[in-house]
Symmetry: C2
Subunit: 671 residues, 2 copies
């Protein structure tokens, strides 16, 4: 006879396993193998350690749980259902169906306890590092003796695939460097990937590798040994100086005829194998989706535990708020992602100068002006802070043991930076931005996309935005990046023309909460548009605006430009007007914002009866036909750049007044 307690454990573990198996079976699609193997460790974590409150999934001090191995989604859904989150059995049974809350891979759904969207491997791992960074920052900022108002762990479950992806290296290396002691990763070491045994492609010593990163590493030899998992988790929590990796040797498809085989990974077991598995593990064949009352009762104790935890925490939080009302007010604002009263007083305003101002420098001035008024604005750069000008002067570096610092040094790790920013924003309590060169947005594509899918307000500062970066050459000169970013749904791209547009763009961005924003900035100096003369402020927030009207307000030609090319358009306009061609110049910092304007405004800026339109942008012209139309033209780049001083490159590649005038003339004649 087993001990009663052990048998409840086993009952719970099997319940999780077979909810996953049955849901995959019913959907005729999904991944049964990982839940079968990893259910025990997930159960131990959720049953004995995870401090959460299923009745309030948004409790700020909850432990975060990230299923980086998103294909094991049913494991998470089963846990959420069993522990009493508002995720019904009906949803479980609608796994992978249209409109369900149980999609193929977990999609962020704060109301039911899904912290982040995962599936593309390694992303969740990086998000979790971001959550742990946020926790460390907020704990340092808000905790006071006797008032640990921020004090939680971040747990991750990760697979072989997560470990193979480069992002896991970047994020783990940084987490080790930062000594994020409250980050704990359970590694589902099942040694099987989609193609078969990891022997085919994966023989590294993961333990040694993580030791090299400065992690605390443990092994659990038997993934079904609940006690060993529990002890390992206990030791991991006790280790406060290093993040922890617990390597749990599991068996994919445990108990099924396909155990230890890739056949168990990504498709339903099929009715016969389901039967065989249930028989082998002593589970009733019917009904499907069977949940023994004892298991449900046991796991639903999470609700009461959660109520108590949150109640205790609220008591602490209230006492803290009484003792430190200013801090509490700030906390409240930060957690609602609102901005403090007067945050935008005294924004920098730029006036025309001889030499001009690089928009990255204007960005720096903006950041350094507002950062002191927004204490929960935190940012950094992927080893390019001097170049991106993202550094917040005098506000400290975020380093191990100095978690109050406002400047994060991500290292040469753009992808990690992206996933970490996402994790920080998901955690809540701060506003996060990160900088790199626009070209290196390529290294971050997978995480840009997920931030857009989650519609969370991550801010990317992409400088060195064109061939205008000059001598570093085509390897560093973006060409396809503007259209590539514009193609991502829910991503807003802003490429301001000058210092004042940059301030307006940042001002808009900090107030926007509906999705990520890419601020695209120059390395080179560009002229400053006189803010007394040009309506930059309102203009930027509308996406495009009439910067300079044609003589007599009746344009025969419209020049549309973004960023540094706006100044070329203005210079060409002078020449065209002198030639008797009434020319309007439209500055168009953001397609997305312009698209959101009412048609009347859009037709006001780009009147359908002015078909002669020339777009000027030092980037791939893909998509500009939308704005210039059948009778328009685009001066863009259908090639990569070149290494030379930037004025030479602009000239050689046709970004000259002469060339613009020539192309424009041709349009007017043809039109």
């Amino acid at each position: 006879m087993e001990k009663p307690e052990a048998s409840v454990d086993e009952l719970c573990v099997h319940t999780i396993r077979f909810l996953a198996v049955d849901a995959v079976e019913k959907a005729r699609s999904g991944h049964p193998g990982a839940p079968l193997g990893a259910a025990p460790m997930a159960y131990v974590l959720w049953d004995r350690f995870l401090r959460h409150n299923p009745a309030n999934p948004l409790w700020p001090n909850r432990d975060r749980f990230v299923l980086s191995m998103g294909h094991a989604s049913m494991l998470l859904y089963a846990l959420l259902y069993l522990t009493g989150y508002p995720l019904s059995m009906e949803e479980i049974q609608n796994f992978r169906q249209w409109g369900s809350r149980t999609p193929g891979h977990p999609e962020r759904d704060p109301e039911v306890g899904i912290e982040t969207t995962t599936g593309p491997l390694g992303q969740g791992f990086g998000n979790a590092v971001g959550m742990a960074i946020a926790e460390a920052f907020l704990a340092q900022r808000y905790n006071r003796p006797g008032f640990p108002v921020v004090d939680h762990y971040t747990y991750v479950m990760a697979s072989d695939g997560d470990m193979m992806e480069g992002i896991s290296h970047e994020a783990a290396s940084l987490a080790g460097h930062l000594r994020l002691g409250k980050l704990i990763v359970l590694y589902d070491d099942n040694r099987v990937t989609i193609d078969g045994s990891t022997d085919l492609a994966f023989s590294e010593d993961v333990a040694l590798r993580f030791q090299a990163y400065g992690w605390h590493v443990q092994r659990v030899a038997d993934g079904n040994d609940l006690r060993a998992i529990e002890q390992a988790l206990r030791r991991a929590r006790a280790e406060t100086e290093r993040p922890s990796l617990i390597i749990v040797r599991t068996h994919i498809g445990y108990g099924s005829p396909y155990q230890d085989s890739e056949r168990a990974h990504g498709e339903p077991l099929g009715p016969e194998a389901v039967r065989a598995t249930k028989e082998r593990l002593g589970w009733p064949l019917e009904p499907a989706f069977y949940v023994p009352q004892a298991a449900l009762t046991h796991m639903r104790r999470a609700v009461e535990r959660g109520r108590v935890w949150e109640t205790e925490w609220r008591r602490t939080h209230e006492a803290w708020a009484r003792a430190y009302p200013d801090l509490a007010a700030e906390w409240e604002m930060a957690h609602q992602r609102r901005l403090p009263e007067g945050w935008d007083a005294d924004l920098p305003r730029f006036y025309p100068t001889e030499v001009g101002v690089a928009t990255r420098d204007a960005s720096s001035e903006f950041l350094n002006t507002v950062a002191r008024r927004i204490p929960y604005l935190v940012g950094g750069s992927a080893d390019l802070s001097h170049s991106n000008k993202t550094y917040l002067k005098g506000l400290g570096d975020f380093l191990a043991g100095h978690y109050e610092g406002r400047n994060i040094h991500f290292g040469v790790r753009e992808h990690a930076m992206g996933t970490i920013l996402t994790g920080m924003v998901l955690h809540g309590g701060l506003i996060a931005y990160g900088g790199t060169f626009l070209i290196f947005s390529d290294y971050m594509r997978p995480t840009l996309r997920l931030a857009a899918m989650m519609r969370i307000p991550v801010i990317y500062v992409f400088t060195h935005d064109s061939i205008g970066l000059g001598e570093d050459g085509p390897t560093h000169q973006p060409v396809e990046h503007l259209p590539s970013l514009r193609a991502i749904p829910h991503m807003t791209v802003l490429r301001p023309a000058d210092a004042n547009e940059t301030v307006a763009a940042w001002h808009w961005t900090l107030q926007y909460q509906e999705g990520p924003v890419a601020l695209v900035l120059t390395r080179q100096k560009v002229p400053v548009l006189d803010p007394e003369r040009y309506p930059v402020w309102e203009g930027v927030s509308r996406g495009a605006y009439i910067l300079q009207e044609a003589t007599g307000d009746r344009p025969r030609l419209i020049l549309i430009a973004t960023g540094s090319e706006v100044h070329l358009a203005l210079r060409a306009q002078t020449r065209l007007e002198a030639e008797g061609i009434p020319t309007r110049v439209v500055s168009m910092p953001s397609w997305e914002l312009f698209e959101r304007q009412p048609p009347a405004y859009r037709h006001h800026v780009l009147p359908p009866d002015v078909p002669a339109r020339l777009a000027i942008e030092a980037a791939s012209p893909l998509g500009w036909e939308r704005w210039v139309g059948d009778h328009g033209d685009v001066l863009g780049l259908r090639r990569f750049g070149a290494s030379a001083p930037y004025p030479v490159i602009f000239e050689k590649l046709g970004f000259t007044v002469e060339h613009v005038v020539e192309r424009a003339r041709r349009l007017v004649k043809g039109g």
Copy 2:
């Protein structure tokens, strides 16, 4: 007194250093710090080990040298000039100028010995792993007892930044797994990055990490100790079972006032610091670009050494060719990247079936038909070979000690796969392809771009190309990827509509040598277009073609579609014709190929006098205005997908006959 030999060494090292310093100074732009610190190791490698022939940079059996830390480009240019490659002093003095062969970061230039384009960190590291893989494959295939016709090392110089990038993890982990004993990496461990000391962000134990990957790791404590570097390289070459990492502790900006400071990294030293550095290292202040005759004479001995090496090798190669004429003929063809006579005899041809054929399956049939006739066609998948259907049946797995295998298992490492494919193609002697899901092309963006910049024929097989992948949901459903790929200059994207278009697309691709190709394929089954009825063969190679003409050959409407949406267009056409709207259906597998057609053909397919055009593609509509014009419309996706069975998703997102007909009707009425 130093020994005379030592002083020539020192002279050479300093010559390299100051060519770099002076070139950066003259260009007023560049990176002097890394060449100052890393010149000794580069010198030892090139002077004592690198088997190359400056008079014939294309000698097939040369050792490959990859400067992954591309910002140290002047180090490479100095070595090329000094060892006698056709790279003149004038080019050195034109560093970073328009039209020079000495751009800011090295750009592949086989005629002067630049093996690959580097700069974005980590890329060269991955390329080198690909070169070592190619060497191992070719050695296994072509070498015979007594005839080591393929037998060379691949050397890399890499920096802290390379080590931080995730790609270095992926590539190194795979290289260790594959036991690539002839890959040797010199790590310029200078502990300074752009933002400052690596203490800010990088404290991992790189030695331990590479041991975890199964590498042979050595340390050289003093980067100026030529003897120690030499001994380490000797041991690395002797280690045949594991790739080698040599960690060389260097000092960025060695000898300059900015030694060990980030100030030395990315900008000219300035005249005063140049003077101070020259004084400190005992170098004449004038002239700039000073090359002592003794140094030049010493280093130019590489020309004679190279002549002897290549001559010896040619002798071996000729004897081998006589002994194995068939092998030699194949080698020749492979190295010219030609295809064997009759390679495309018996290509699969598909006829309409009830159930249809997924284009990924047609791709598999094609590959498995031609692979036996093209013994140097090698490919793999990033752990999705069962899904991508890229596996070459019966042709073996490329594994440690089984380098004859034609199937490479890249693991869940898309980025490494991309860089490795590039390295394989750069090496020469084989045709390489790699598969993953289209969504994961995001993980490979930096390497896709560099392959396009180099215009080399890497082949990407991107399956699961739309919401048509179904239940896995939006995290796995590409939306923005088609326009994002189309935006890359020199990239050709092919999205065939059915099995026969797929065969035609592959047929074209294997013959194309001017740049990378992305084959975009369905997961789901799609109908087969009757090849007796539709001109798929010629059509695909022209990018777009009239698939089905309107009644009376006088269309009032054109439906343009790609991939799986072509069948929707055909079904809608039937309905529209029945309603009396003469409708043409254009299949457009490739924008790029269509753009290359003469205007007459393009106007034939899309006549300007038929403005009512509806494009149908289950992707972001960005850019389609180009083809549909001001009076056209695009049925695309301005949102992410969803998790559900794929017919449901297509229906819910508007990809139905009814919706197409409705949108088309509106167009015709409006037009």
